[in-house]
Amino acid sequence: MITIKGLKKSFNELEVLKGIDLEIDKGKVVIIIGPSGSGKTTFLRCLNVLETPTEGSISIGGQEMDFTKKVSPAALSAFRRHTGMVFQSYNLFPHMAALENVMEGPVTVKKEPKEKVREKAEYYLEKVGLSDKKDYYPFQLSGGQQQRVGIARALAMEPDVMLFDEPTSALDPELVREVLNVMKDLANEGMTMVVVTHEMRFAQEAADEVIFIDGGVIVERGNPQDLFNNPQMDRTKSFLRKIQ
């Protein structure tokens, strides 16, 4: 589903990603962990091309982008349709009700007929358990509810892969579970997911693979049991000690 080769990203002089190679199979849930400043969020944003990589190539859902060459804005938009992004700060459109947030992509980008999209949007809102909130504006929703609308908004574009950038980090502790449950349902349904998170319990419950990134490279990867209980690299050990 995803093939990443030699991915590098620099901001001016600072090289944040120093060459990442990775393959992710369809239906797998991959968790990315790492200390702050390690490049894990930049890596995720490269998959959605919110950051344009400096070098390397990414292939998602059969479309390949080679970033060594210049990429046109139209190609970027087309490539982005393979991925759905869920942001740490939700980034819902505040001037649209929940249902309109979910409808926006299919209507404006895919030009699908409104009536059809409304049904689809209602379906996805029900999936994240918010059928009764469809006419609420974001400011009328709790953080957890907003994040679930964010997930529905990304799902409505029917992407091949869902990307989550610390989706529960901005939430009050009692609201974390409702978001993680939605994500777990998605994983069980066979959605391919890449998740940057600090939720170790979620990683253990839902992940097929955990990847530890530090200093812009993949330091260690493995299934959650092995990586959490029996890390091989010193850097992984010291990071896990700090967060547990």
Binding site: L50, R80, S89, F93, H95
Partner: protein
């Protein structure tokens, strides 16, 4: 003293009341046929120009940024009256002769365009970066993000300062009297030169400007309420 004299002199009092009554209609006509349309037309063109200028200021193209910057600087750095004089009295020297109406519309539109572009630019920049990213993440291009996500939110932010610009424009149109447009203030001047009641006529004109601006500020409040429906208060 003046007031005492008037109050003590019923004949003069009657004359003033008569002048006020007779001048009210021409002044209001001046407002309806000149001041208000001039304001509306110039504001619409000006806002169009302001949006283009604001987009040029935040674009990636260096040339566009430079052009926009020079335009805003030139308009903000020179008096409006001088700009109108250049258009109406200056341009004929090089063969460009404009009537009062087009001169006034061009002058006021350029003026509004420059000032409002800064308001619109600030409003666009005040929308969090996450809103752009959310738009891109669902596959939108720049145009779609601007139209669907950024402009609707920027409009809300820019209504109070743009109302200021609009209300200033209503009053600034009195400067068009200097380029022979018979708008409300010029009519007041014309009437006053026939009867020498300057205080009365100019006060009357001032009151009409005030009434127009007062009505506008009520409209502003209503628009703000409507656009505030999606933010918590």
């Amino acid at each position: 003293m003046y007031l005492n004299n008037i109050l003590a002199d019923p004949e003069r009092m009657a004359r003033l009341v008569e002048i006020a009554q007779n001048s009210l209609l021409p002044l209001i006509q001046g407002a309806i046929f000149y001041t208000i349309p001039l304001t509306l037309i110039s504001f619409v063109f000006g806002i169009g120009l302001a949006i283009l200028t604001a987009l040029a200021r935040i674009s990636d193209v260096k040339f566009l940024r430079a052009v926009a910057r020079v335009y805003v600087s030139a308009i903000r750095g020179t008096p409006l009256l001088v700009q109108l004089f250049i258009l109406f009295y200056g341009l004929p020297t090089i063969g460009i002769v404009l009537d009062p109406w087009p001169s006034a519309i061009i002058g006021f539109s350029l003026n509004v365009g420059a000032y409002a572009s800064e308001i619109i630019r600030a409003a666009i920049l005040s929308i969090p970066k996450g809103q752009w990213e959310a738009g891109y993440s669902i596959g939108m291009n720049n145009r779609q993000v601007l139209k669907r996500i950024i402009f609707p939110q920027a409009t809300r932010v820019s209504i109070p300062p743009l109302s200021n610009t609009f209300i200033s424009l209503v009053k600034d149109t009195s400067l068009a009297s200097m380029i022979l447009l018979t708008e409300m203030f010029r009519r007041a001047q014309e009437i006053a030169t026939t009867n020498y009641e300057f205080l009365l006529l100019y006060t009357e004109a001032a009151l009409i400007y005030w009434v127009i601006c007062f009505l506008l500020s009520i409209a502003q409040g209503r628009i703000e309420n409507r656009l505030d429906r999606y933010v918590s208060r």
